[in-house]
Amino acid sequence: MARSYLFVPGNVPRMLQHAEVFEADALIFDLEDAVSLEEKDEARQLVRSFLQTHPPSQPAYVRVNADALARDFSILDGLPIHGVVLPKASIQTLASLREQLDGEEWSVLALVETPSAFLELSDLARDPGVDGLILGGVDLRAALHAHPTESGIELLYARSRLLMAARAYGIEAIDTPYAESDDAGFETDLKRSVALGFDAKCAIHPNQVPPLNAAFTPSQERIREARRIVERHEQTGEVRFSLDGRMVDRPVLEEAKQLLERAKRYKALKKEADDAD
């Protein structure tokens, strides 16, 4: 599980060689939209050569081309990657991908970016090979004839629907990247992703990664509160109690436990003495 997935264009050597240092939890080496048709073969060779000689320290994914899976997979053999991102995900493209995987146990993240994919979303989410759903907001917006708005209203249904499916089948929910260059808009969009409940968000620029990691890491205030809830439960065995006037019951307890798990995963748990810092 990750907080940030950084897209790295497969045809730009400078981006490849520096990708690892930007502190993204996972990298997506892109052979699809970032690479023009005439550069596809060069990008395939570049990504292969790079991953063979400089495997990154974080999980690496490759975004393949849904309409050229065989060519893309021809260069993936034996690479130290964690998985693939399947664009234009559908039951049909997933079946084609499964053929190419040929028993390889790579993780699959399905990029949901067409209206028809939403009609098949439950089937995509419950596929045992799919570990997460990524919302592809830019393509979806275009397909819906929608326009980007400050409130994000045009994607609210898609975001919520994708989250429901991911939660229903216990897989990761990853929000669409923010494609504009204004910092304020990015911040608003990021807050929305966190508030809706996404696990992670994609980044299309390295400068988006640090705020993104920070936003998906539980705050110290929330960690302190969760700790008190869990400690009270562990000391008394109670699953229903009042803490500072707030009613705690089983769902709240579970939420607190999950939050502490996330905090631990992202090394945000401080010792009690440090909390005063």
Binding site: Q17, H18, V21, F22, E23, H54, H205, P206, N207, P210, K267
Partner: protein, 464 residues
């Protein structure tokens, strides 16, 4: 003498072959004064002059022509790039080439070691009495810190201005040291005076380095009320300054002073009451110039008061933290900011060596490789600053701490920062760039002088 006629002034000055003539660099790449004066000296057929300029920029084309023709025989400066650098690197200078530090230059002038025959000092505003200031006039540049010692000690000092003011000009250049005032139609292009290097970096690598350097400061043990700080005008330095300001605000800490070259982020800190004083030897942008006019806590200082190692009250003796750049670093933490790895002259110490030695924490910030050229070399092309004065190197792939500062290393490791030894950092760059072939040096072309006048290193031409 007060005149509008450069030729008449030169007659009075009775310049002779072999004299040492000085200039400052506060008009940076907008300076018109040095070109105009040197062109006149060349027309007069003067030979073997010693050009004593605090810095030389691409705009200084006339100096290159004077070297070519023999008008200039020796050059001493603290920083050089552009045509003069190219001319020297081609071996065209007939005499000696010396690179000094800002503090070392002030010391050498004050002690009479580098006696100046005539100081030609671009001065944005001069009053009827001969007082000079940098904060008024069409070519306002702010502090004139690098002109003060030249003005006071030169055998003859000429203030060259395009703004003769009727009102008294309070400034750094007192009339008591002014021998002549020359008015020219223009002393420079304001567009070139405010440097183009003042954008806070948006480069993700630069920002990563800046974030790590800020964390080094946070965990250094020096972040407390009264902390003092200096950073340059490069994009990474400015990003660190902004982050340092935010850290001061977030922790309720007030710094005592920021020093050196001053730019907008430093002014912001003063105006947010995050720092008590700005000790300004040079302004880098219009915001800094404006601040000198309106903020009493923004104080112009001379190069001698800034960094002269023999000045017991120099500002940087109390400096806690300095952020510095590098074109090369070796595994002994020695730093090159004078040439690149191929021997091209690209700058010079300026205040690098001065602040590295005097500060408690000298942090080098630089990417591990640029193109196919690694930062960390087994052998530097030129040593500008001695490694014993450097505390750590912050790169995008980790922080190397000088072995002598194991206390700092311990603090940073305890904070979870990625501390690695410098050889490991070098190897990680080589994994991308390959191990560079040793560069063959050509003939010696000059020396790098330490701040006390000692020879720090020899400068060589590129081979071939």
């Amino acid at each position: 003498m007060r005149t509008d006629d450069l030729e008449a002034l030169l007659d009075v000055l009775e310049l002779r072959d072999g004299m040492r003539v000085s200039f400052h660099h506060h008009l940076r790449n907008g300076d018109a004064v040095m070109n105009e004066v040197l062109a006149a000296l060349r027309r007069r057929g003067l030979k073997d002059l010693h050009l004593y300029a605090s810095a030389l920029f691409p705009v200084h084309t006339e100096a290159a022509a004077c070297i070519e023709e023999g008008t200039i025989r020796h050059v001493t400066t603290n920083y050089v790039n552009g045509p003069v650098a190219e001319e020297i690197a081609r071996g065209k200078l007939r005499g000696e080439f010396t690179m000094q530090t800002h503090g070392g230059r002030a010391r050498a002038v004050l002690q009479g070691e580098n006696a100046i025959d005539v100081a030609f000092l671009a001065t944005p505003a001069v009053d009827a009495e001969g007082n000079g200031s940098g904060i008024y006039g069409a070519a306002a540049c702010g502090s004139l810190g690098y002109a003060v010692e030249d003005h006071a000690c030169a055998k003859r000092s000429v203030l060259i201005t395009d703004s003769l003011e009727d009102f008294p000009v309070p400034g750094q250049l007192s009339a008591s040291h002014t021998d002549h005032v020359l008015r020219l139609p223009s002393i420079g292009d304001p567009g070139g005076i405010v440097s183009g290097t003042l954008e806070v970096t948006r480069d993700p690598l630069g920002l990563k380095i800046a974030r790590m350097a800020t964390e080094v400061i946070r965990h250094s043990g020096l972040l407390r009320n009264g902390v003092s700080f200096q950073s340059g005008a490069g994009g990474i330095s400015l990003a660190i300054t902004e982050q340092f300001n935010d850290m001061l605000a977030a922790t309720g800490t007030q710094a005592s002073f920021f020093s050196g070259g001053i730019a907008a982020p430093h002014v912001k800190a003063l105006e947010r009451n995050l720092v008590e004083k700005l000790y300004d030897v040079q302004c880098f942008d219009e915001e800094a110039i404006g601040s000198l006019q309106r903020n009493t806590g923004h104080i112009p200082i001379s190069a001698g008061d800034y960094a002269d190692p023999t000045n017991a009250s120099r500002v940087i003796k109390d400096l806690d933290i300095v952020i510095l750049g590098a074109s090369e670093v070796d595994t002994g933490f020695n730093v090159n900011v004078t040439t690149d790895s191929y021997g091209n002259l690209i700058g010079g110490s300026g205040g690098h060596s001065d602040t590295a030695e005097d500060s408690k924490l000298a942090i080098i910030v630089a990417p591990l490789f640029r193109g196919r050229t690694p930062l960390i070399q087994e052998r530097l092309f030129t040593k500008t600053t001695s490694g014993e004065h450097i505390d750590c190197l912050v790169s995008e792939r980790g922080i190397a701490v000088h072995p002598a500062n194991d206390k700092l290393a311990g603090r940073l490791k305890a904070a979870g920062l990625p501390v690695v030894d410098i050889e490991t950092l070098m190897q990680s760059a080589h994994a991308y760039t390959g191990r560079p072939k040793p560069i063959t040096r050509g003939d010696a072309i000059g020396i790098v002088e330490g701040r006390r006048g000692d020879v720090q290193d020899t400068l060589y031409r590129k081979a071939g």
